[in-house]
Each structure stands twice: as C-alpha cells, then as structure tokens.
C-alpha cells in the first residue's frame, strides 16, 4: 500500500524530489503491529473473562463457556458435522451473493442510463427494498421448496437491492466534466460508458458489495432457520432446541469466520480497483 499522502514537491522544471527513506522495520510496520497486538489482546481478554465468569457469575447452560465451544468444534470437526453444514451454507451464501450482486450491478448500470424508466420505477423499487426480506421466506418456500434454491434466492434478493442502490448512486455521481471531456475527444456513448461511467461508479458498487456480505449470510441463515434439515442455520436451531448453547455459539463462530473470509476477498478486489485513490480514502 502506498503511503504517499501529499503531492510530491517539485521544482520549477517539474522534477520531483524523490528521496530514498531509511526507515526501520518498526517505523514501517509498527502501527500495524500495535493495532494487531491490541486486537489479539482484546479477544484474548474477552475469552478469559468469559471462561472465568461462566459457572461463577453466569449460568453456563445459558452462556456456555469458551472451552466447551472449542470442544464442540473439535467434536463436530471429527465427525464431519461441521464441514457438511458449513459447506451447504457457504454454497448458498456464495451463489446468492454472486447472483444478487451481478443482477444488482447490471441493473444499476442499465437503469441509470435510462433516466425516465428509472424515475418511473423508483418508488416501486424503494417499496420492494423496504420489505423485510425475512417476510419473503414463507413465500419462497411455497415457490421454490425447502431445498437450497430457496435460500440462495433469499440471499440474492437481499444482496440485490444493496448492490443495485449503491451502484445506481455511484453512476449518478459521475463528474459531468469527465463525460464532456470524453465527448470532446470524439467519444460516443460506448466510450463514455466504458471509460468514464464504469470506473467512476466502481466506488459505489464496491460499497454495495461490502455492505451486502453480511446480508447474504443473513438471507441464507434465515432461510435455513425457517425450513431446513441442513446448513448452519439448521445447526443453530437444532442445538438451541436441545438446549445446547455451546453448539449455538460454535455455529456462530463458524459463521463469523465465513463472513471474515468473504470480507477479505472483497477487500482484495477493492484494493486492486482503488489503487488510484489517496491512501487515506481507502479502507
């Protein structure tokens, strides 16, 4: 990652003063290291407090305890339960996310290039967006059954609106001056779309993609909670029904790991696309 935050100083002939910096390992990585150390210390502290408090202050049958959760994860890992259910949920999340974001991005570009159509559709889109997607689950069961399709679509619908709205906002915020610049170069609508609108709206689209990750998980897990005999959502409701709080927490751990991995992947994409942005504007 570039650490350049200011314009390079130049002399009158326009040559930059590029100076090689002798920076020690700590100067270069110190900040990252201390932030990561603080994160690890925080999570370790929380786990320790939880472990010690369970059984003394809290009733472990409600809060479980980290060691029990770990034991449960090891058990599930050994008998394959963990991987079977995680695999199902992961597929639903990934397919739903891909479907929803592809549809949302595509429609975001198409509709913003047809302003009149967009104005006609806008209130309806907002109304659909406002529907809690959980409320759609029973309908989706009727339509698509209780197999994976229904969860994929539930995740996709949730993701779709977020990516769509953010992409559309990104397209609408494109600098008019840049479009005029391309017109002056003799560029047609195709050049404007590919060379200005697409790169300029990337920021909005990526925001949508980032915000949508947890919603893809929510969609899939809700679908599984409502009707399923497989997947992490099912594992949660099944464990809870048996009053197995360690099982519930173990599943939550797995879900957050999946979310973290997806976040990381979209972060890589963001980093690749946003190289031109100032360092402080990147996340």
């Amino acid at each position: 990652m570039s650490t350049m935050t200011e314009s390079p100083k130049t002399d009158s002939a326009g040559r930059a003063d590029v100076v090689a910096l002798q920076r020690s390992w700590w100067e270069r990585n110190g900040r990252t290291t201390s932030i990561w150390s603080a994160r690890i210390a925080l999570i370790a502290g929380l786990i320790a407090v939880w472990q010690l408090a369970a059984g003394r202050i809290f009733d472990p049958s409600f809060t479980s305890r980290p060691s029990d959760i770990w034991t449960r994860l090891v058990e599930w890992n050994a008998d394959g339960t963990l991987w079977m259910h995680s695999w199902i949920t992961l597929q639903e999340v990934v397919y739903g996310y891909a479907l929803g974001s592809a549809g949302g991005a595509l429609l975001g570009f198409v509709l913003t290039s047809l302003p009149t159509v967009y104005r006609v559709l806008d209130p309806f889109i907002m109304a659909l967006y406002a529907i809690p997607k959980v409320a759609l689950a029973p309908l989706f069961i009727v339509w698509f059954g209780i197999e994976m399709d229904m969860k994929i679509l539930l995740a996709a619908v949730t993701v779709f609106f977020l990516v769509f709205l953010n992409t559309a906002a990104g397209v609408r915020e494109v600098d008019r001056g840049l479009i005029d610049a391309v017109r002056l170069m003799g560029g047609g609508p195709r050049d404007i779309a590919l060379k200005v609108v697409l790169p300029a709206s990337m920021t909005g689209m990526l925001t949508g993609l980032k915000v949508a990750i947890p919603y893809a998980l929510i969609g899939a897990v809700i679908g599984e909670l409502v009707a399923s005999n497989r997947g992490l959502g099912y594992l949660i409701s099944n464990s809870a029904a048996q009053f197995d709080t360690a099982g519930v927490f173990a599943t939550l751990v797995v879900l957050s790991v999946i979310a973290a991995i997806l976040n990381f992947l979209v972060g890589l994409l963001d980093h690749r696309v946003s190289r031109w942005k100032p360092a402080e504007a990147r996340t």
């Binding site: 390079p8 130049t10 009158s12 326009g14 040559r15 930059a16 840049l178 003799g186």
Partner: protein, 254 residues
C-alpha cells in the same frame, strides 16, 4: 488569411424554472487560421458559454458557428478544448490520461505510447508517467491537460482560463510553455481570460467582451514576439494598451 471560425449572431439562453437566463446575446467573432486570439472579459460576461458553444458541447439557442465553412453541431476532434477545471481521469496515470484521445480515435497501442512519451517530455513531465493525477501538483496537472489536448494534433485550441487557478510564477512559466508549443505549429488558438496582462502577452488580437458577450473592443496587438513578460511590463506601448483594455473592461461592465 482565411477565416477558420465564423460566429454569427450567437445567442444562448438557459432555462431555469419558468424564466430564461440569457448568457450570451448576438455574439459575433471571426477567427483567422493560425492566429492567437484572446478573449478578455470580466467573470460572468459569457466567455465560458461562448467557448462551450464553439466547442460544440452545447447547442446555441440561435445563431451559427461555422468551422471551415461547415456548421458545428457537436464536438469534433480537430478542435480541442481545455476547460477551466481539470478533467483528467483520476483512475488513469499520466501516460494513460494523455493517451486517451488517441485511444478513442483508435490509434494502435505502440503509436499511442510513443506519442504520449514525446508529449510528456515536451511539457516537462518526464519521470511522472506512472503518477496518478492526485499525486501531482496543480501546475503539473495543467501540464498533463495541455499534453492531452495536444496529443491528437488538433487544428484549433480553445482554452478557458487554463492558468487561472495557478500562482503568478507558475502561470508565467506555463504561458511561456504554451507560446513555445504553439509557435510554428500553425495552430489556431482562442484563449479566454480575465487577466489583461495575460491577454496582451499571448494574443495577436484581443477581443474585449462586455455583459452577455457584447463586443466592446477588437484590436490587433502589434507587440513584437517573442514577448518577455518582465520587459513588456515597462514598455510604453504595452502600458498604453493595458490602459486601453482597462478602460474597455470598465465600459463593458456598464
């Protein structure tokens, strides 16, 4: 010399709610091929609107602009336009920004690259090919814009206060650079400014505009080239011209 750009009775009216706002009324201008014309006017006199109309970016309410005898109906590649604000693509580095007009006209990659590198050298940006616009200073960004404007080898350059936002020293440098790049190129330049000194330093001819594009003064500038800003400032001829322009601007505001 032959007339290259012919502007007749140009009027532009913008619509806001139920009222029309006249930005330019009955504007006439003839530009000879190969000449450097500066249009001098206070802000709000319709200079930028006039250039937008000349470039074909916007259509006039009435009146015509003809170029080589044929009317202008939209942007054309023979006419390049350098706007007041930077319109460099922030996601493209210097070289790819400069290549852009050639990319659109469909020039092969190798030629694009060679031509861009040549222009980068001519505007003094060697070593910055891979920098993004936001990593450059304001003056350097202007140089990139200048290079991008010149890359397609346009016949005519329209410039809208291109150096307005720069400090005085840098402006002098870039004015000198512009004259250097323009000399012997045979290009026609229409340069809009509110700065009397800049108008006199650059132009073969100065057109002073009053409110809504009313032509107050149209005068040949017979100062010998090359013009050195420091020497020019104390020359009696220049001082007289400067006074004449100041007077014209004052008259135009009424």
């Amino acid at each position: 010399m032959s007339t290259l750009l012919d502007v007749q009775g140009l009027t532009k009216q913008f619509v806001k709610d139920d009222t029309g706002i006249v930005a330019l009324r009955d504007f006439n201008l003839q530009v000879e091929k190969g000449s450097f014309v500066t249009i001098l006017g206070r802000s709000g006199c319709g200079k930028s609107t006039a250039l937008n109309l000349l470039s074909g970016l916007i259509r006039p309410t009435s009146g015509t602009v003809t170029y080589h005898g044929s009317p202008i109906t939209g942007p054309r590649t023979e006419i390049s336009y350098l706007t007041q604000s930077d319109t460099l693509m922030p996601w493209r580095d210097v070289r790819r920004n400069i290549e852009m007009p050639m990319e659109i006209s469909g020039a092969p990659a190798q030629e694009r690259r060679a031509r861009a590198m040549d222009l980068i050298e001519r505007v003094g940006l060697t070593g910055f090919e891979r920098h993004y616009p936001r990593e450059l200073s304001g003056g350097m960004r202007r140089r990139v814009s200048l290079a991008r404007m010149l890359v397609g080898d346009p016949e005519t350059l329209l410039m809208d206060e291109p150096f307005g936002a720069l400090d005085a020293q840098l402006r002098t440098d870039l004015q000198a650079e512009l004259l250097r790049l323009w000399q012997d190129s045979g290009q026609t330049v229409v340069f809009v400014t509110h700065d009397i000194e800049e108008a006199l330093l650059l132009g073969d001819r100065v057109v002073v505009l009053g409110l809504r594009g009313r032509c107050v003064l149209d005068r040949e500038i017979d100062l010998p080239r090359p013009r050195d800003p420091d020497e020019l400032r104390v020359e009696s001829n220049f001082v007289a011209l400067h006074r004449e322009m100041t007077e014209a601007l004052r008259k135009g505001a009424r």
